[in-house]
């Protein structure tokens, strides 16, 4: 009898101990919360089914054929990259190539197998050294009033212009059908290119085309940041007195005056109104975040804490907050504060976090993080997106080497970032992806780093 009682008591205590242990360890399970948040991505059922017809050439010469080919390829790629269309695959298209509205047979395109809801088509010709394109967008389901818009483009004949016309036409289609979203086909990416021992600032189209140099300073330049009106590019450059903030004018195509200061000055960032920049400066001895006018005057320090403070970025929607990286507690962590330095809030709770980028709608921060805890850790350094109000995050890259310097596209649907698959700095290249981590591809070869997507 007593033995029975003892066993019963013991198992009761055991159960209690197990219960207590479970309660104690539940904070660790916190990391497994599965609540999603609403990013700008559309699943296939919400996408508009659009057919992109090969444009009809109006002249037979080989040059026109070449431009037409470039135009068709670029248009198809732009509409695919937008992330809001379900593009009819080329094999399902009807065999016709309508050049204008009268040649368009809607029934052919709206019927299976194409089953298109919208059709983009038109004609292309070369006249007097100019490329002339007439682009149409039709609503395949509206037999009475099919035409949504028609636009004509007339530019100097060159392969690059054929590409730019395609970009503009694609952006126009996205503007009409994208539910308020902006098209990114005409946006640019500014980045750092390794040229031997030095690093210069280069520019390319959002799809990796047209890569060319902007600066020729013969030293190490980095952290390019384009102004909201696309007129000036701020960056930092290594000189005799260490790194300084420099300004490049895209209108004058040269470096323009920007006051130098003591210490190391790096990582400039533009406020959305284009009148202020924030940057990291160690002119008072410790690297802190400063703000100044766009021409470098009226500099004001807004952080004051021992430990490196660097990589500020403004809230592009409101301009009232700044996110940045601080090593005040040891390894660098992500913080946000009001633009005057008050209301400091820590966002990451461990690991090694760097290079924040604020989403255009003001709700998310993309950054590079070596998380070192929770599922999938220790992994490498990957790109993460965090919702600012809830601090919930998702991991976008996995097991693909070291990733850094994410930058949002202006439509909030894409992120461009730097990736080195084997960890070596010299093998870094720039990649682009949708914000859900899909459709990832490289835009450059090796030797490209620190991309910055233009605002428009």
């Amino acid at each position: 009898m007593p033995r029975f009682t003892v066993v019963k008591l013991f198992s009761k205590q055991y159960a209690l101990a197990v219960a207590v242990l479970c309660v104690f360890f539940s904070p660790l399970l916190r990391a497994q919360d599965q609540f999603p948040f609403h990013l700008e991505s559309t699943n296939s059922t919400d996408r508009i089914r659009i057919a992109v017809a090969p444009f009809k050439p109006q002249s037979a010469d080989p040059a026109t054929a070449g431009y037409k080919n470039t135009f068709d390829t670029t248009l198809f790629a732009d509409l695919s990259a937008a992330g809001i269309f379900d593009i009819v695959s080329k094999s399902l298209l009807p065999q016709s190539s309508p050049g204008n509205q009268s040649e368009m047979n809607l029934a052919q395109w709206s019927a299976a197998p194409a089953s298109a809801a919208m059709i983009a088509f038109g004609n292309l010709s070369t006249q007097n050294g100019h490329i002339v394109v007439n682009g149409f967008l039709d609503d395949a389901k509206n037999t009475q009033f099919p035409q949504v818009f028609v636009k004509q483009y007339n530019e100097e004949a060159s392969d690059d212009q054929a590409r730019q016309i395609a970009h503009r036409f694609a952006d126009e289609i996205i503007a009409r059908l994208g539910g308020g979203g902006v098209g990114i086909a005409e946006t640019k990416i500014y980045y750092v290119k390794q040229t031997g021992e030095n690093k210069e600032i280069w520019e390319m189209d959002y799809d990796g085309a047209n890569q060319h140099a902007l600066t020729h300073l013969g030293t190490v330049s980095m952290s390019p940041r384009i102004s909201p009106d696309n007129s000036r590019l701020a960056f930092s450059s290594l000189g005799r007195d260490g790194f300084q903030i420099k300004m490049f004018s895209l209108l004058l195509n040269r470096v323009i005056n920007f006051p130098a200061a003591g210490g190391t000055n790096v990582s400039p960032a533009w406020a959305p109104n284009g009148n202020q920049i924030a940057f990291s400066s160690s002119r008072t001895g410790d690297p802190e975040i400063w703000t100044a006018d766009a021409n470098g005057s009226i500099a004001r320090r807004i952080t004051s804490f021992r430990g490196p403070d660097v990589s500020p970025v403004w809230n592009p929607k409101t301009g009232g907050q700044i996110a940045w990286i601080s090593g005040r507690t040891g390894l660098p962590q992500l913080y946000i504060m009001d633009a005057d330095g008050s209301g400091v809030q820590r966002m990451t709770d461990g690991g090694y976090a760097t290079s924040p980028s604020w989403s255009p709608n003001g709700q998310f921060l993309a950054f590079a993080w070596d998380r070192r805890y929770g599922p999938g850790a220790p992994g490498g350094q990957d790109i993460y997106v965090m919702e600012i109000t809830t601090k919930k995050w998702i991991q976008l890259t996995h097991d693909s080497g070291r990733c850094d310097f994410p930058s949002w596209s202006p439509d909030g649907r894409h992120i461009v970032f730097a990736n080195t698959p084997d960890g070596k700095g010299a093998h870094t290249r720039i990649m682009t992806m949708l914000v859900d981590g899909t459709q990832r591809r490289a835009l450059t070869g090796s030797g490209a780093d620190m991309p910055n997507w233009s605002w428009k």
Partner: protein, 262 residues
Amino acid sequence: MSSYAHPAPLQQKFSSGFAGAVVLHVAVAGILIGMAFLHPFQPKHWGEDAASAGAIQAVMVNALPLPTKAPPIDHSVLASENVTKAPAPPVKEKTAPPPTPNDLLIKNKVDTKPPKVAPKENLTPTKHPLPTPDSPKATTGDAATQLPQAVTQSVNGTATVTVQNRSFGNRYAYYLRIVGSMVTKNYNEQHPDPRASQDKSVSMLFDIQRDGTIQNLRVETASGSPTLDAAAKRALLEIDSFGPLPEGDHITIEYKFDYHHP
């Protein structure tokens, strides 16, 4: 033999047993106190440190076609508006008391009232308004009598978007389709109370400005289910812009939502 029959030894047993019990209790108490000193209990801080905020992993599930948000906590169990009347209990029939042995049998007027029967209640269930099936006359525009509409199916039922400007709707049917699909996508993520909203419909009215933003959002016909009305409103309020109007300063849209969840 039980010990109850022997009171004298009980006394002895009592004292020795008692002493043993005291020793045992003191020993246990001593162990516990010793443990408290040697292994101090220092509770870890629960919840979030003010300095290091907790970052929580989330999983992106927007790719799935199913609604993903956690349902709202407001489970209001609404009773039906029309309460069916419970049938009245049958009236007790008045019977004459049985004659006592001493009673003289007097011939009295006998009440031969017919037994009262409870009035027959009409016990058919209350009719809920059935959804009017909308003909999917979306975009052809040949039906001159009907205003242009876009009908979309969703997890939660059917959504019909009607523009009150006939020529606009005919000319720019694609824009109506965009409005419909954007609103339905938001509507899919709402969770009105299924029991209260089943087969009910709410219609909302709003204007779309030139830049595609919504103005003057109001309820045209309430559904009778507050959660459904709120879900419809939320689906619309979450939209930033439909994209610029292809023509005109503003258009008025009627958005009718039928809730049907199988």
